[in-house]
Symmetry: C2
Subunit: 265 residues, 2 copies
């Protein structure tokens, strides 16, 4: 079981969640970044497609937060292959070779997005009681979702075979302005054929505030009881169709934010 | 739901299971082959790494039996990537573009091999009662196993999104000489640290006879009730630590062979 890490490498540090992690966890750990664009931290500039190029970033690192990926749900195969399939293998393999103890992997709710595709928009209603936990059969809604199922399976393999501590976070909706009622939400990319009001209702369920996101990652990095987990990451929202009971029990995750109950901007 | 297919394309037709399928199903369907080495059937010679090159093989095809892959459990990443990850995407994508109705995908018990790694050799005992079904959390024991988890997830995506009928077969041990007591077994490749006697005991559980293998594929191709399944493929063996009850119920799979009870050659 883990000891609190000191040196933490963040891949994809210049992305949205990467920036949140760098900002909020800088006081807690000695952070470095693996990124394609320099950030205000010790940075290794390399493409995760290239295993040899990224290896030096993993030296003397205690834990990796692996966020680098094409993050859009409609990413085409041509980017999924290098960014998500090859890149995630390279990160786990580099971590193994360097003797890194812990990998926190940014998985996604899109590993089980098929349930939402079927269930929307009723699934978003406050009185709907359906909820999906980590035992739900995977139903990726996209090649992006497939790539995250694969990343979780890689994590399981590296955990079972080589003893890495691996935490797969099925992250909900983290927003640049941290506001689940932002007017920008109505025009966000989605695979779903839903109205703006239904989109607000969706975020009432899927929102993960920036501080809850950072807190969940800390709970993984500092877990002393658990060395393998698949958990969902949402705030303490009024409607929860992804189960966070498992994250609460396993990791002591205790989200402090909650999306508003209404479904208007 | 499906109608009985007429034109069936077999990828990897020159491999072990490919040869079995071509031989045993030639009377039942109009078979063609996608292969790197010509076989005695109408053959498209192409590498599944190359989507454009394989597309013509899928024209006017009713069903695909997708066997092409690096089949060894210890296959390194350098082959897993083109043969299993890229190749399987290309096959599903080519099937979709050509309007193929059904894909039978050769998955593997190595998707859950971690349970066997932990449980062997006691797991092989006739009086051990552990059994793993399609709902068991995946625990790939190898990059090969990871590639099969990924292939199953791709299948789920193509099923949910595009309506393909997809059958994922977690195939047990199909043997060239069809003999689960062959002396060759003791020297077969394995990730497990087990004795020759334990290896025979293993095959008492994992053997899939060639005719049961062909029969299981027919049951998938001709299923009228089901258009998505993950099932294990073993014969009616005296020890079954992978559950075939689901295949029996869902597909009417009725294996006729059974490995001998003993654990000697």
């Amino acid at each position: 079981m883990g000891t609190r890490p000191e040196r933490v490498l963040v891949t994809g540090a210049s992305g949205l969640i990467g920036q949140i992690v760098m900002e909020r966890l800088a006081d807690r750990y000695q952070l470095s970044a693996l990124t394609r664009r320099p950030v205000e931290f010790p940075s290794h500039i390399a493409n995760i497609e290239d295993l040899d190029a990224i290896l030096p970033a993993f030296e003397r690192i205690d834990a990796v937060v692996h966020l680098a990926a094409s993050p859009a749900v409609d990413t085409p195969w041509e980017s999924i292959l290098p960014d998500n399939l090859i890149g995630t293998y390279n990160v786990f393999e580099a971590a193994r070779r360097a003797g890194v103890e812990t990998v926190v992997f940014a998985s996604s709710n899109h590993t089980i997005g098929g349930y939402e595709t079927d269930g929307a928009p009723d699934l978003y209603r406050l009185d709907d009681e359906r909820a999906y936990d980590h035992t739900a059969e995977v139903r990726p809604d996209s090649l992006y979702g497939v790539s995250k199922v694969y990343g979780e399976a890689l994590g399981r393999y590296y955990h079972d075979k080589f003893g890495l501590r691996v935490f797969n976070l099925r992250i909900g909706s983290v927003l640049a302005d941290d506001d689940p009622r932002s007017e920008r939400i109505a025009s966000s990319t989605s695979l779903l054929d839903i109205t703006p009001a239904e989109t607000y209702a969706r975020y009432r369920g899927t929102w993960l505030s920036q501080r809850d996101c950072a807190e969940l990652i800390v709970r993984c990095l500092e877990s002393t009881e658990v060395d393998w987990a698949v958990v969902y990451g949402i705030s303490n929202n009024p409607r929860q169709f992804w189960d966070i009971g498992h994250a609460r029990e396993l990791l002591g995750y205790a989200p402090v934010d909650s999306a508003p109950v209404g479904d208007e901007p």
